[in-house]
Structures are given as structure tokens and as C-alpha cells.
Amino acid sequence: MRGWALNLTNDRQEARSAPADEILDTVGLYCPIPIIRTAERLKRLDGGAVLEVISDDRVILIDMPAWCRSTGHSFLGSRQEGQEYRLLVRKKEEPV
């Protein structure tokens, strides 16, 4: 592979096996719209729900974990399929 090989794909078992409650396709969208769409979609989900985000922006593998750390959601990992990345995010539990 020419150029930078981004060795950040966190292909943990959890990422392969966690069932997604919803899928968000952001392929073709420019940064940082995928993160904005992820935030919007998570607002509509229940705490603990898992969202699978599909993106063709390789830098999302850096941004999504950072965004999850800052907001308290859980980044479960990612895997690459061709030119696309599939990332799993678990929504944080809302305070009772």
C-alpha cells in the first residue's frame, strides 16, 4: 500500500460480534459530518444501544474514539471492509 497505512483499526472481538441496533451510512460525506450525524442518531437511541457507523474516511478511526472519550459513549472498535470502515459505538446510559 502506498502512503500511510493507518494501523488503527481496532478489530477487537467485541467489534466483530456486537450486534448493532442501528446502522448509519456516512459513506461519501465529508468530515466532520459523519461525527455530527453520529451524535444526532445517538440522541434518538436508548442508553446502551449500539450504533454501527459506516464511513470511507480513514481519519474517522482517530476522530470517533476521541469523540467517544470526550462525550462518554463507548467506542467498541472497528473493522475494514474494502474501502469502508465499520465502527461500533455504544451509547452511554442516561443518568436516572
Binding site: 500511510w4 461525527i35 455530527i36 482517530i62 476521541a66 470526550s70 462525550t71
Partner: protein
């Protein structure tokens, strides 16, 4: 406004514009150190060079240099970040800023007003008590001298509720300081363009991972972009300029062939791929079966102009040294082939934007 704000909130909450640069990171850190809850917002304007490099998807770009610094800072500081799409209203402001442009196409004062106004709305929606920024008095010639700082505060409807922690001790006390929500003595007294104090503070606080200041990352402050931007404004009614046309100012070589006719010639494969996303009913030209740029046309060229566009496209193709080159021109399912000599460089200069 003050009537809606409790005198002694149990937990003081502040909303800040967090670009992820050193100044906004330090400003947030100053408040966090006082036990203030901080919410960060980060605007996506559509003019960020970093975001554009990501959209181009060039393999040689180090992805770590393309990350969103606001998200990185939020992660490092442990504060939630919301990215807000500046949207169409921002574009309208950019095309017609009340306070004018800086040296390029940068409407810095109106931009600050737009973003801080948005932060004020976010503050009200999220039950926060004031807004802060990483602005430093006298750091930037257009937007960060005393008068402009006061102007921005006034026009955002935030009188007394806009705190600049890095320069606070040079500025009149804000209401959060007067009410004791923020300890003024623990705010800073930085001013000017030198970043010595900020760098010393970042070392003292262990803040090491931040982008180096390099004249900003905004296309609106870029000389080449600004020339194309003002050309667009000169030849198109502001009401008719579409978002896509502004996005296209970021890529390729631009040539104005007539008042209502302009072309964009891609410079590499990434730009070819980028331009193809914007081909709808426009004419497009390329040299078949060889390394060739895609040329995107804005306007409706007649036969003579189509030959000129073909010649310019041929000039930037791998067949530029040949006497005659066959060029394909297409629009909405219609194709024509033109055989033209590649344009001479000297002739091109008259059209270049």
C-alpha cells in the same frame, strides 16, 4: 438576561468555542482548574483546510495530522465536544459580512460574532451560565483588539457573559467574575502576538499534543482561495452563489474565459475524483485514454469556447507535447470530440484566476 441566571449556581457551567488550538485548550483548562464544568463546541464551516485534505483522501497524507483537533482536545481535557454545522446562514454571512473582510476573504469579526452567537444559544439550551473563548487581546489585527472584542460581545447579546480567560485581567470584569462564579485572580493576563506565555503554560500543565500555529487552517484567509472567491463574487450575484461553487474554489486551476464562463482544471487524480462529485448538468472535458485532468465548466460555452476549453484540457494532459490532441466534451449524455492543439502557457495566463 441576568434575571434568568441564578445568583449562586450549585455547579457553574460554561460553554466554550474549542478549536483544539493551544489558546482555546488553555482557556478551557483555566476554567476546569476552577472546578467549572465545561462544554465545548466546534464549528464545521466548510472552509477548514484540514477537512478538505481529508475529503481529498490522498494516501500520502498522514492521517494523524488530519484529525479533528477539537475532538482531540475534548478527549484530552475530558470535556464533551459537540460539532456544529455552520450551515447556509454562515455562507450568507461569508458572502456579505457586515464588518467586511480582512486582507483576503476572511470576515473574521462577523465569523466570531456568528460562532459566539451560536455558543450563546447553546449556553441557554444547555443551562450553562456563560460563554468563553481562547481569544487573546491584540493577537490578531482584525478580530482581537479591544474594540473588536467589545463589539463582538455586544453584537452577540452576551454583554457581561463572555469571558476570555487568557486575557481576562486586561479586560473589564465580567458578570461571572463579579458574582464570584469565576475567580478573577486565577484568570490570566496574556496579550499580544507572542505565544511565549502560552507555550510556558502548556509545558507547566503537561499539554503537549496540540497543533502548531501555522497561520490558521481557514481557506478564507488563503491568498489563492481569496482571489477566486472575490472573482466569483464579482461575476455572480451573491444570491445566486451556491454552496457547491464555493467548495469548488478549493480545488484545481481556475480560469475565467468570459464574464459568465469559468473552468476548473483538476491537478491530480484526487482532484479528478473530487470534481466528478460535482458534475451534474455541467460540461466536462477530458483527453480520453491517457493521463488527463477533468475540466469542469461553470457556464454555457459556445463552440469557440468549447475549443478553447479543450485546448486548455489538452495542455494539462499527458499528451501536451503533441501537435494535435483529441479531447472529449460531455454534458448530460451528449458527447462531442474536438481535435485541438494544446494551449500555449502564455495564452493561458490571461485567463488564470
Amino acid at each position: 438576561m441576568s434575571a434568568a441566571v441564578p445568583e449562586r449556581p450549585a455547579r457553574v457551567k460554561a460553554v466554550g468555542l474549542l478549536s483544539g488550538g493551544l489558546d482555546s485548550t488553555l482557556a478551557a483548562r483555566v476554567l476546569l482548574d476552577q472546578g467549572i464544568e465545561v462544554l465545548g463546541i466546534n464549528y464545521s464551516t466548510g472552509f477548514c483546510m484540514n477537512d478538505h485534505r481529508r475529503a481529498m483522501g490522498r494516501a500520502e497524507d498522514d492521517p494523524r495530522r488530519l484529525r479533528n483537533e477539537g475532538l482531540r482536545a475534548g478527549s484530552d481535557l475530558g470535556i464533551p465536544i459537540e460539532i456544529l454545522d455552520a450551515g447556509e446562514a454562515y455562507l450568507k454571512m461569508v458572502l456579505n459580512p457586515k464588518h467586511g473582510y480582512g486582507k483576503r476573504a476572511n470576515p473574521c469579526i462577523d465569523c466570531r460574532i456568528y460562532m459566539i452567537h451560536g455558543a450563546a444559544e447553546y449556553m441557554r439550551d444547555h443551562g450553562a451560565h456563560f460563554v468563553f473563548t481562547g481569544e487573546v487581546l491584540n493577537q490578531r489585527p482584525m478580530s482581537q483588539h479591544m474594540r473588536s472584542l467589545q463589539l463582538v460581545e455586544k453584537e452577540c447579546g452576551l454583554a457581561g457573559f463572555l469571558l476570555r480567560p487568557l486575557s481576562a485581567q486586561h479586560l473589564p470584569p465580567t458578570i461571572p467574575e463579579e458574582r464570584g462564579w469565576v475567580d478573577r485572580d486565577r484568570l490570566l493576563a496574556i496579550s499580544g502576538r507572542s505565544r511565549r506565555e502560552q507555550i510556558a503554560l502548556s509545558r507547566a500543565w503537561g499539554i503537549e499534543d496540540y497543533p502548531q500555529p501555522s497561520g490558521g487552517c481557514c481557506f478564507l484567509a488563503d491568498e489563492n482561495f481569496a482571489r477566486r472567491f472575490h472573482d466569483k463574487k464579482e461575476h455572480t450575484s451573491i444570491d445566486e452563489i451556491r454552496r457547491e461553487e464555493l467548495i469548488l474554489l478549493k480545488v484545481g486551476r481556475h480560469f475565467r474565459l468570459a464574464p459568465a464562463l469559468k473552468i476548473i482544471v483538476a491537478r491530480d487524480e484526487s482532484e479528478n475524483n473530487f470534481l466528478t462529485r460535482f458534475i451534474a448538468s455541467n460540461w466536462q472535458f477530458e483527453v480520453p485514454d491517457t493521463g488527463s485532468p477533468i475540466t469542469l465548466v461553470e457556464g454555457d460555452p459556445d463552440q469557440e469556447m468549447r475549443r478553447l476549453i479543450a485546448a486548455i484540457t489538452a495542455r494539462y494532459s499527458d499528451r501536451r507535447a503533441e501537435a494535435l490532441v483529441e479531447v472529449s466534451g460531455r454534458r448530460a449524455g451528449h458527447e462531442e470530440r474536438l481535435i485541438v492543439p494544446p494551449a500555449a502557457d502564455q495564452a493561458l495566463e490571461a485567463y488564470r484566476i
